[in-house]
């Protein structure tokens, strides 16, 4: 890192630098320990127990029974499959759309402040209002979307009541609601790119597409990495839209992993099994994240993080 020789104080400083790392991390680490690792440990412990009551006394140890039960739980595997489909469609779609929006929002356009605010509105609009309006839009007979489709001669389905389209409709709604959220992160990333880089590119005769390809995209790599990782983690845990809009139906076509966990825990009061399911979901997400880390490291080199 340094060209300078390691003189006495520099060697000391190097060690202190190490120690400083811990000092900087300490507050968050303490927080992590108390408010996360301890509860998490409890949930791991629970996953080997049959805790279906509400009392914290006399909880029978059942070994791997909860995990064994999971293997034959067709409802759970259906939910896992739906979660995978949801993730693979919604994450790329959301990232690309919100990046496009962010690039537009980063321009000098009259009223840009107002537009930015408007695009953020869905993020803070209550899910209840969102669901009411989208139910109107997606309704099979009277809905706005099918009216628009009928103008070009397409007979649209009953989006949220048809098992073939319900998950797709759910994806569209969540992408729409999250767009403003993701846009803000992309915007922050775009703002951090030094103007000098663009000026240099222009001097080199780069056109807009080339500027995007050789300046914007590489400089956005840390943001892209962040969006991808958090996006995948977040969509593996999708819950609220399912809870508000479809309750997992029709015919289980929008049932997702966390909805299963929620129902097992808070409707069935079956906390041991719910904890086991959560730990399995955790392993899935962890593996997915490690795969992403691996590919990022290989393909983007240092830019994913130094």
């Amino acid at each position: 890192m340094f060209a300078a020789a390691k003189t006495g104080w520099r060697a000391f400083w190097g060690r202190w630098n190490q120690r400083e790392g811990y000092v900087f991390v300490l507050p968050s680490l303490l927080h992590l320990l108390v408010f996360f690792l301890i509860p998490l440990g409890f949930s791991l412990w629970l996953s080997f127990h049959d805790w279906r009551g509400l009392t914290t006394r006399n909880i029978p140890f059942v070994g791997l029974e909860n995990y064994q039960f999971m293997f034959g739980d067709t409802r759970w595997w259906n939910a896992v499959w739906n979660t995978l489909v949801y993730t693979f469609v919604s994450v790329p779609l959301g990232m690309v759309l919100s990046l496009l929006v962010a690039i537009v929002m980063n321009q000098k356009i009259p009223g840009i402040y107002a537009f930015r605010a408007m695009f953020f509105l869905p993020v803070i609009t209550s899910w209840v209002a969102v669901s009411v309006v989208w139910l109107w839009i997606l309704d099979g007979r009277l809905g706005l979307l099918n009216y628009a489709l009928s103008l070009v001669g397409i007979d649209g389905p009953d989006w949220l009541s048809d098992p073939r389209t319900a998950l797709l409709a759910l994806i569209l709604i969540t992408v729409w609601k999250g767009l403003g959220f993701q846009m803000v992160i992309w915007l922050a990333g775009l703002q951090a790119i030094p103007k000098e880089l663009y000026e240099a590119a222009i001097v080199d005769g780069a056109n807009r597409v080339q500027q995007f390809r050789f300046v914007t995209l590489p400089m956005l790599a840390p943001t892209t990495f962040f969006m991808l990782i958090t996006g995948v983690i977040g969509s593996f845990q999708v819950f609220t839209p399912v809870f508000v809009l479809t309750k997992g139906g029709p015919l289980g076509s929008t049932d997702v992993a966390v909805y299963r966990i929620y129902e097992r825990a808070f409707v069935n009061f079956d906390f041991g099994y719910a904890s086991a399911l959560a730990w399995v979901l955790f392993v899935f997400i962890f593996v997915a994240t490690l795969i992403q880390l691996y590919y990022m490291r290989r393909n983007l080199g240092g830019m994913y993080g130094r």
Binding site: H31, L179, I285, G305
Partner: protein, 281 residues
């Protein structure tokens, strides 16, 4: 861009498209706003009216007279401000270490932090509650604030932002003998305004609108947050009767308004666009 006439039609097109998309983004919010100004009768009429026949402000006055609004607002403000400040400080410190300092176990620790985002909240909820209960923090501000003081999401967000700061700046500062804390506070924090503002907005949003955690922690009506107070307001056996949509929406608007204000304020940190066209012109 004004100097380039060929760009003009393109801009108009883009502008028109923006307006169309903006309408799509704002429709549910507008529906909320308009419904909150209708009578219950009108909210259920078919075909639905777009604009209220006569705006009814009573939904809001009813809200403000029946709920100890000031107290709930104060509670929410105390909790939210504490969480936002705490998160900005704690997360940025850790993010600096993960982005720019070398220490043993750094990457492993970072993956551990990432892992904390992978467990659904529903699962740690009850153990977390039992813990906070053991600490004696039920019914206290501290119980509402403490679990939110740090977030892996925030650390990750800021770490990625800190990675883009040129190494030369740090090297120069270090050679000048600046301490790591000085570099962190004088170089990194000022240079990452947009990202800090982003985290601030998200932390504010999450805490201000949280319902589940306050529901468990607050027992004393005096300690209720805005969202919780309004939820009680609406909990009059809603499964038995048609919900009072106008009142419900008025409540939602009241909760949202401060978030919009905060967002608009934070926008100032998203400095003016880089405006490629004008550089070229």
């Amino acid at each position: 861009m004004r100097k380039n006439p060929y760009l003009l039609p393109l801009h108009i097109l883009a502008f028109a498209m923006l307006c169309a998309v903006a309408l799509m983004m704002t429709a549910p919010f507008l529906w909320m706003l308009l419904t909150s100004l209708k009578t219950q009768q009108e909210a259920f009429q078919f075909p639905p009216s777009l604009l209220p026949a006569r705006p009814v402000w009573e939904n809001y006055t009813q809200l403000f007279t029946l709920v100890p609004f000031g107290r709930y607002f104060l509670n929410t403000l105390v909790v939210t401000v504490a969480v936002v400040i705490g998160q900005l400080f704690v997360c940025s410190l850790a993010a600096y270490a993960f982005a720019r300092l070398n220490f043993m176990g750094r990457d492993t620790l970072f993956v551990l932090y990432l892992a904390t985002m992978m467990v659904p909240f529903q699962v740690t909820l009850i153990p977390l509650y039992l813990l906070v209960f053991q600490l004696g923090w039920v019914n206290t501000y501290w119980g509402l604030i403490a679990p939110g003081l740090s977030s892996a999401y925030g650390i990750f967000l800021l770490r990625q932002a800190f990675l883009t700061v040129p190494q030369e700046l740090i090297d120069a500062a270090r050679i000048d003998g600046a301490s790591e804390f000085t570099i962190y506070s004088r170089v990194f924090l000022p240079m990452n305004g947009p990202s800090l503002a982003t985290l601030g907005v998200f932390a504010f949003l999450g805490t201000w609108t949280d319902l589940l955690w306050p529901l468990l922690i607050v027992r004393n009506p005096q300690m209720r947050t805005l969202e919780l107070g309004l939820a009680y307001f609406q909990s009059a056996v809603p499964q038995f009767v048609q919900p009072n949509w106008p009142l419900l929406m008025a409540a939602a608007v009241v909760v949202m308004l401060p978030v919009i204000v905060v967002y608009l304020m934070a926008q100032r940190y998203f400095v003016e666009g880089i405006a490629l066209g004008s550089v070229k012109g």
